[in-house]
């Protein structure tokens, strides 16, 4: 397995029209860590995640993957496994076809043969602990199952990193707790550099190696969960994590 990617964000800014979604922010995400971008809505955390994935392009600044400039790479070239807020599963395809999508979309030179694709899809279904649901459609799954299928689909392309936008946002409280551990396990198994966006400070603190607290398009504090909890650097952070 290739070593997990190291991500550097250098003075990234983003404007939508005249409103600034991100003031220049800089951040280093060390190889193989599980990072939470934590903040209220409108803090710019999702915009930053989408910039990493190549779904949004910054107005200024650079993104470096392992030291080389990735700012101009297209979304396809980024090879970022992306899990969307409401999962965005292809509703007209079975779970199997959803997970196989990325492999089948490869150019014929690098596309694995059908048998190999099937083997990998089944392996991923085992990884998310849902081995028997390949023939079902997304509408026949529970919220928690959909989230795990979205994760498997993102992992199928052998991504360089894993990016998740509010991965637990659409789930009820009980399922959220169960799936938290599931994400941690998958991160530890794959070793991928993983960034997830959340507005839930418990989720960030419990799950992440590194928490990035954001507000109003700025990074307020970066640190290990225990450091942020014991030494909040700004009044905003203190208030947000005790709320």
């Amino acid at each position: 397995m290739e070593t997990p990617v190291n991500i550097e964000i250098e003075d990234i800014a983003k404007e939508f029209g005249t409103t600034a979604a991100l003031h220049p922010v800089s951040l280093t995400i060390p190889s193989g860590t599980l990072v939470a971008l934590l903040g209220p809505s409108g803090s710019g955390k999702t915009t930053l995640l989408r910039i990493l994935g190549g779904l949004e392009f910054p107005s200024a600044g650079r993104v470096l993957f392992d030291g080389s400039d990735a700012t101009g790479l297209t979304v396809q070239e980024r090879r970022a496994g992306f899990v969307f807020q409401s999962y965005a599963l292809f509703r007209h395809m079975t779970v199997f076809d959803n997970i196989a999508y990325g492999l089948r979309a490869r150019p014929s030179k690098t596309r694995p043969p059908a048998a190999e694709i099937a083997r990998r899809v089944n392996k991923l279904l085992d990884l998310i602990k849902l081995p028997d649901i390949g023939a079902r459609y997304p509408s026949q799954l529970s919220g928690g199952q959909r989230q795990r299928v979205a994760l498997a689909r993102a992992l199928a392309i052998e991504p360089r990193m894993l990016l998740l936008d509010e991965p637990f946002g659409a789930l009820d409280a009980k399922v959220r707790k169960e799936l938290r551990q599931g994400l941690r396990d998958i991160h530890d198994t794959t070793g991928l550099t993983t960034v997830f966006v959340t507005h839930d400070q418990d989720e960030a603190m419990e799950l992440a190696d590194l928490v990035v607290v954001m507000s109003m398009g700025r990074i307020e504090q970066v640190g290990k969960p225990e450091d942020i909890r014991s030494r909040p650097r700004t009044p905003f952070v203190r208030e947000f994590i005790t709320a």
């Binding site: 994935g53 190549g54 779904l55 979304v75 396809q76 980024r78 090879r79 970022a80 496994g81 992306f82 969307f84 807020q85 409401s86 965005a88 599963l89 292809f90 509703r91 007209h92 999508y101 990325g102 979309a105 490869r106 459609y137 997304p138 509408s139 026949q140 689909r153 993102a154 199928a156 392309i157």
Partner: protein, 292 residues
């Protein structure tokens, strides 16, 4: 007089909140059926009755007349040109409106509805003014041997204009509701834009697209006003089925007129039957895509 306490035979609470009393229910159903009978079934039966008044053979003879044959072919040809073009335009317009944000979008959405709000006759006159022999462009077109007005290209143009909104109108709400997330997901999985369109967008909109195409087709074959103005009604050359029906009717050839009308009505039935058959055949997929 003794006071009696009446106990309702069925407690009210057993009735679901959305169910009206039986009387209201049947009254509404009866009203609906009455309207359908008077406005739809009876006239349709009358059309076929009139067409077959002097027997099948007589009706078929009127259809085999060269002018009638040419009208049927012209209508089918125009539909075969217009429907695919407007399907493509409709998809492009709906895509541009729902998947991108740009200046002037609201204005374009309004303009797409224009053919619905402008009288078809006015639309026809617009084309005559633009491409007719009295305009510089029209004169040049006639001189170079490619006349548009009073010729088939004019009929195609007028029909394109009239039927433009159908596909776009069907697609825009569906695509707005579905959002961009699935397309974005396909792109992050490495699919090209074209592959994303073919494997994600198109399957998601196929039902709306089918409805739009069927409506577009029905109108393309049935359009009268705009085509009447631009066609010049040259028998055997620029006369479509609806124009032919009017001509027969004005010439008191009522069997020919109603037979042709019957054929046009049958084409509409085929369209409806096709739609129902597809819905029935793919009921499971329809349910899967809607219940998400």
């Amino acid at each position: 007089m003794t006071d009696t306490i009446t106990i309702p035979s069925r407690p009210r609470a057993f009735r679901p909140a959305t169910t009206e009393p039986t009387v209201v229910k049947w009254a509404l159903i009866a009203l609906c059926l009455a309207v359908l009978t008077v406005l739809l079934f009876a006239p349709l039966i009358a059309v076929f009755d009139e067409a077959l008044r002097r027997g099948w053979a007589f009706a078929l003879v009127s259809l085999s007349e060269p002018d009638a044959q040419s009208a049927i072919w012209l209508t089918l040809t125009v539909a075969a040109i217009v429907v695919p073009l407007n399907a493509a335009f409709g998809i492009a317009a709906a895509w541009a409106i729902t998947k991108f944000d740009w200046r002037g979008k609201a204005w374009v959405i309004t303009m797409i509805d224009l053919p619905f709000s402008v009288s078809p006759v006015v639309a026809g006159l617009l084309f005559v003014l633009m491409f007719g022999a009295n305009s510089a462009l029209g004169a040049w077109l006639v001189a170079s041997g490619f006349p548009i007005v009073f010729a088939v290209p004019g009929i195609v143009l007028a029909t394109l204009f009239i039927t433009f909104p159908f596909v776009a109108r069907e697609l825009i709400p569906v695509m707005l509701e579905q959002g961009r997330a699935e397309e974005e997901a396909a792109l992050t999985l490495g699919a090209s834009g074209w592959r994303t369109f073919l494997t994600v967008t198109l399957p998601n909109i196929r039902w709306a697209l089918l409805y739009g195409v069927l409506l577009c087709n029905a109108r393309a074959m049935g359009e009268f006003g705009a085509v009447a103005v631009v066609s010049g009604k040259i028998r055997g050359q620029t006369t479509t089925m609806p124009l032919m029906i009017e001509m027969f009717y004005n010439e008191y050839l009522s069997v020919a007129a109603f037979t042709m009308a019957g054929v046009l009505a049958l084409l509409a039935f085929v369209t409806l039957a096709l739609k129902s058959a597809l819905e029935w055949r793919y009921a499971d997929q329809l349910a899967a895509t809607h219940r998400h």
